[in-house]
Symmetry: C2
Subunit: 312 residues, 2 copies
């Protein structure tokens, strides 16, 4: 039996291409319309992961020539105080995108804050009006991660139209908007979740399988049909060496064990990469796959928001 | 071979039960909170079907004790004039539900009007904010037809959780909100449409098959798995006698031919009833199925809107 030929859908070249396009667009807006899109990122408290994410967002904005603002508020900020910050940003004509980094401290209701952001500046695409526009097939700002998945599929020339796409996971941030986007692109779409009975029987029918569950290596060989395109949205830390042996083939086991040794854990998606490689025709690696697109899509959303609001 | 036993999921008793509940609720609101929910229906122009629909809505409102208003505007009404009517209804504190009957004359953009309705009074559930809330699993006003399908399934004690529901059709009015509601009820959900390849292979896996395509008798025996529950949302007119022979078994052919003879056509859903009867475990008839629920759900939405807006 010949070995399965699998194509690795690396996120890096796609993210780079999108960033280049955004930088060119920013330059053109500046030259032809006399303004530079501005992204305001709001962070509340001292969550260390949030600090890293926000830092990356601000840094990338600057690299691409966008104006970026970082509003860092104390962990004791009240909901009213945060609402005031959001409202000020809503009202400022120079601010094109507003992103409030989640999670927020427990005295603040996420939902209230997300609904307070002007939908025209909602570059995360989480405002109900944008969710509704997406669900109705209207032009809207789309959540970055599922939008990034579509970019990966399209730019690697993977046909979506008429294909059966199966999504595992029904979160508001990934699973559900992913379903809407795949449907808009004329896939037949199935959404599975924790209550799905006989999951492998459903997922193994997928031409395109999207895993967004949040459980390391949950999708095994039995879940994957021969020749499927597997998109892995999960990001999990694995520190267990025995589990690493289950997840990684000879091609990367040694490297992963060294990472665990050195840093205490290694990044793993929701798909078992060893078993995916044996059955899929193509798959997105973790790290280095879908995750790299998220910030690039945020930049694209900021430019899109600027153009839509300013009617360009 | 013994004949397939099929249960007919008649809409009438379910619609009656819901109307009774709504009437009781209206009485209780009047007695305990001193107000009576009010539904304002706006109709523009002389479309004869719209006149019948609106007439039925107003009549049912009155039967259940709701206050109902019928605003009938001329076919020449401009978009701004209609917007003014909607805004006046938005501002009136005594108006709980606003329904603008579609289709609208061509000088008016549906989307602009639907977005102008106060989402708290949007008893059709078509405003993007309500679409978004539904898609995010938040409390919202839900489109009447898919909400009615859920009532039929639940009140006939058809299990949804863990079942595979397949929806054929992806309209904003039925297919897409239907998918959200079935997903909220823990079904595994597949959405098919005109671009789906090998439709029978997908639909025949359904435990619950919802047909919302708008093509008479499109769903045939080959599309239906043995023992499936088939929900037929379609309403089409069939006047062709040969086609009637394909659609109806001996049990109803004669009656249907008499209807065609007398009225020129007979009502048929998107499912071939003769073939559905041979394979399904249960199905909703046309007429007399899902269609009967729509007005009942509109009444329920009006009462729900009144309670939500008045914080009861």
């Amino acid at each position: 039996m010949s070995e399965n030929q699998v194509k690795i859908l690396s996120g890096a070249p796609i993210a780079e291409a999108i960033k280049k396009e955004v930088a060119a667009e920013v330059k053109s807006l500046s030259e032809n319309h006399g303004f530079c899109p501005c992204l305001a990122v709001v962070r509340v408290g001292e969550d260390p992961a949030s600090a890293v994410y926000v830092g990356n967002k601000v840094k990338t904005s600057q690299e691409l020539g966008l104006i970026s603002e970082h509003h860092h508020l104390s962990a004791e900020t009240t909901q009213d105080e945060l609402l005031k910050v959001v409202n000020d940003l809503n009202e400022r004509d120079d601010v094109d995108g507003i992103l409030v980094q989640l999670p927020l401290p427990k005295q603040i209701d996420d939902k209230v804050i997300l609904e307070a952001i002007n939908p025209e500046k909602d570059v995360d695409g989480f405002h109900p009006i944008n969710v509704g526009r997406l669900a109705s097939g209207q032009k809207s700002l789309v959540p970055c991660t599922p939008a990034g998945v579509i970019e990966i599929l399209k730019r690697y020339e993977i046909e979506i139209k008429g294909k059966h796409a199966v999504i595992v996971g029904r979160s508001n941030i990934v699973g559900k908007p992913m379903a809407q986007l795949l449907l808009q692109n004329d896939a037949t779409v199935t959404i599975c979740h924790s209550r799905t009975t006989n999951l492998p029987a459903v997922t193994s029918q997928a031409d395109i399988l999207v895993a967004a569950i949040g459980r390391a290596g949950f999708i095994r060989g039995e879940h994957i049909g021969n020749g499927a395109v597997v998109v892995d949205v999960g990001i999990n830390n694995v520190s267990d060496v025995d589990f690493a042996h289950e997840l990684f083939g000879e091609d990367e086991l040694e490297k992963r064990l060294a990472v665990i040794e050195k840093r205490g854990s290694t990044l793993v998606g929701d798909v078992n990469p060893k078993e995916a490689k044996a059955k899929a025709s193509a798959f997105t690696p973790v790290p280095g796959g879908v995750g790299l697109l998220t910030i690039a899509m945020l930049m694209k959303n900021t430019v899109d928001a600027a153009k839509m609001r300013r009617k360009i």
